[in-house]
């Protein structure tokens, strides 16, 4: 395990959630959730199955409206009521199933829904140049051609394309939902490098993962959800792997985590 780079928590977080609640009918999925994601940093969002990670990122993406709580984007309160609002703020989500069209090529996928035009014509040349520049900026070297169909790419390459697609749009916050879940060793390596470069190019990255090795490899901060509550949102230097696992499974670890009373209340 390499020592993660510690970055000072100075400046305003790109995204800050304060006291976010969300229920589906009678079931409250998110309880008073706080989260901060800083520019240039990777925030790992961890938690067991059903802890509310997906609901949380879907709230950030505007797919689920939150019931109460504050969302601040670059210090300003915002309300995200749809995926378009999120995109306009500069929030890009890379879902686990990637959402790429197999029958289109890399450039076409990266610009899908936001094609460039000259008149009514698609401006293929300018899109190809921009796609190539973005991939080069992220030091992606594994693609043979930007004009190859996505169906011919490996899992790692697809993940790369999906991430590059998110970066293309001057995005400030990129949320990655388990980007390494289905990948082999070498491909995981490539994607983790890419996640790191994403933060190093000034993006604020929220990285969902179940894999502690990956988390400690790239994250600057770690946020642990436990049964819909934020057990901890701390710089990664303050915790180690054992403590993170405790936070995920019990909601508490030493002085960190949900107050014992609350744990007793939810953890029955």
């Amino acid at each position: 395990m390499s020592a993660p780079t510690v970055r000072p928590d100075d400046g305003t977080p790109t995204l800050e959630l304060r006291g976010v609640n969300k229920s589906f009918g009678a079931i409250q999925v998110l309880h008073d959730v706080h989260l901060k994601a800083y520019p240039g940093q990777v925030t790992a969002l961890v938690g067991d199955n059903g802890a509310g990670k997906s609901t949380l990122i879907k709230s950030i993406a505007g797919i689920h409206a939150i019931d109460s709580g504050e969302v601040l984007f670059e210090g300003k309160p915002v309300s995200i009521s749809g995926p378009r609002d999120a995109a306009e703020l500069g929030i890009e989500i890379v879902y686990q199933d990637l959402a790429l069209c197999d029958n289109l090529d890399v450039v076409q996928n990266m610009f899908l829904g936001r094609e460039r035009h000259t008149g009514v014509l698609l401006d293929e040349n300018s899109m190809e140049i921009a796609a190539r520049d973005t991939l080069a900026r992220l030091s992606v070297r594994t693609l043979k051609s930007v004009r190859q169909p996505v169906s011919s790419l490996s899992g790692g390459q697809r993940q790369t394309v999906a991430i590059a697609k998110a970066v293309l749009w001057e995005s400030k916050l990129v949320v990655l939902d388990e980007p390494t879940a289905a990948l082999g060793v070498a491909q995981t390596r490539q994607v983790l490098d890419l996640v790191r470069r994403l933060a190093d190019t000034g993006h604020s990255v929220v990285f969902i993962s179940h894999n502690m090795i990956d988390v400690f490899e790239v994250a600057d901060r770690v946020a642990a959800l436990y049964l819909g509550r934020m057990a901890a949102d701390v710089p990664i230097a303050e915790v180690d792997r054992t403590r993170v696992v405790e936070l995920i499974t019990a909601g508490r670890s030493g002085d960190l985590g949900i107050a014992p009373a609350a744990v007793a209340e939810v953890g029955v």
Binding site: P83, N103, A136, R141, T142, K144, S145, V146, V185, Q190
Partner: protein, 429 residues
């Protein structure tokens, strides 16, 4: 970008291939590279226009051998092209529907309804021909709008919606025309679409214009890609393609411009107006599908509707527009078919009309599974189907055999499509 700047220990290459970045973009610029790329593509299950071209060549040779006196004559070849026109037009619309992974089983009978509307309007209500034609196309579009809304908003599977409409619209045609009746189409401009030809001079001008336009578009694209250092094909391939199109166009034009009259006292020569109509729609729709956002979004919805939705594409709108476009083309196809027969009867657009058009699209290379296909597939496949229909007619085979053979051809085309898809999944294309 060269491999020298790569941090040596950090990147574990996924494949042992050189990792200089996008080297495939430059590999494709040699003639050999393109040929290899094409062979790989075909092996990988993407057959493109290959089955249709092979079909045209093999069937032409077969029927020429069986009926050397009647099949390869200027008269029959002209007939064949005119026969192919309504099939290709209907298939063009179906290409769009199939690209979405949907089906429109009612497209054939919609062409019948629209043709009946036009014929009844002209014959019984003295509507001028241009208004009658316009009315037919508008009704076609409205029918498609209804189908599209049922499919995309109510979310009834398209084959159920259009199967119900297939039955319903036959009733509409019957009601419009009356039991057992036939409505003649007498207007010479409408009849002329399939039965009159442009003068030989205009025919040559058209042929040369098509070749020049094609060459200009191809060369211009190549030049601008080259200038910006983008992925482009080698000049040799571009030129070869232009030469191929030029040879085919000029060969077809010279056959159609030969005097095909059986009576030596008359001269019948020139390109029937239905052919420039098909070419014009082929060009317009190819442009729409390949060069506009709408076309790109059609491919996207067919490839992965969920991805398209997340990318902010209005999937409902795309589906509705595609059904609308498809039935508007069905209306045009119905008009051309009515022009060819100079009449409309209650069975117009029924029978094997739809089967022929679906067969044409699939033989041309459009996938039944969505996401893959081009407008030209409709034209190439339409020619294959027309050759079969025409050839079997000349052989005088029994009607039952005609049905069986056409059914088998469609099944064959669908099998090729399904196998190609499996192969594509296996080779990761």
């Amino acid at each position: 970008m060269s491999s020298a700047v790569q941090p040596a220990a950090k990147d574990v290459p996924e494949t042992p291939a050189p990792q200089s970045g996008f080297e495939g973009d430059t590999a494709a610029t040699t003639f050999g590279g393109v040929v290899r790329g094409y062979v790989d593509k075909v092996r990988g299950g993407d057959l493109g226009a290959l089955p249709a071209v092979a079909g045209i060549v093999v069937l032409s040779i077969l029927f020429t051998a069986l009926r050397p006196n009647t099949f390869p004559t200027a008269l029959n070849i002209t007939n064949l092209f005119v026969q192919a026109a309504p099939i290709s037009l209907l298939a063009m619309g179906l290409v769009f529907v199939l690209l979405l992974g949907e089906i429109d089983l009612s497209a054939g009978v919609v062409s019948g309804v629209c043709a009946a509307v036009m014929a009844v309007a002209m014959a019984r209500h003295d509507v001028p021909w241009y208004l009658a034609v316009l009315l037919a196309i508008v009704i076609g579009a409205v029918i498609g709008l209804v189908t599209g809304l049922l499919v995309s908003i109510v979310r009834i599977p398209s084959f159920v919606v259009t199967l119900a409409l297939f039955l319903g619209y036959q009733g509409v045609t019957l009601k419009l025309i009356g039991q057992g009746g036939t409505v003649p189409v007498r207007d010479e401009r409408v009849v002329g679409i399939a039965n009159n030809s442009m003068s030989v001079t205009w025919g040559w001008i058209l042929a040369i214009a098509v070749v020049v336009l094609f060459a200009a578009l191809q060369l211009n694209r190549w030049r601008s890609q080259r200038a910006k250092g983008l992925v482009s094909q080698p000049l040799l391939v571009v030129v070869a393609r232009i030469v191929l199109i030029a040879v085919i166009t000029i060969a077809v034009a010279s056959v159609l411009n030969v005097n095909r009259a059986l009576n030596p006292n008359f001269t019948i020569a020139g390109i029937p107006y239905a052919i420039p109509l098909v070419i014009a729609l082929l060009l317009i729709l190819t442009f729409v599908l390949g060069k506009t956002s709408f076309g790109r979004h059609v491919y996207a919805v067919g490839g992965n509707a969920e991805a398209a939705r997340r990318a902010g594409i209005n999937v409902v709108r795309i589906r509705v527009l595609v059904f609308l476009l498809s039935t508007a083309l069905a209306a045009i196809s119905g008009i051309v078919a009515a022009s060819r027969l100079s009449s409309v009867d209650p069975s117009s657009g029924g029978g094997n009309t739809l089967l022929y058009a679906v067969g044409a699209a699939v033989i041309g290379g459009t996938s039944l599974f969505g996401g893959r296909g081009r407008v030209r597939d409709a034209v190439l496949g339409g020619l294959v189907i027309a050759i079969i229909a025409n050839g079997l007619g000349l052989l005088g085979v029994a009607a039952y055999l005609n049905f069986i053979i056409t059914g088998i051809v469609l099944l064959l085309a669908a099998s090729v499509d399904a196998l190609a898809r499996r192969r594509a999944a296996a080779t990761g294309r």
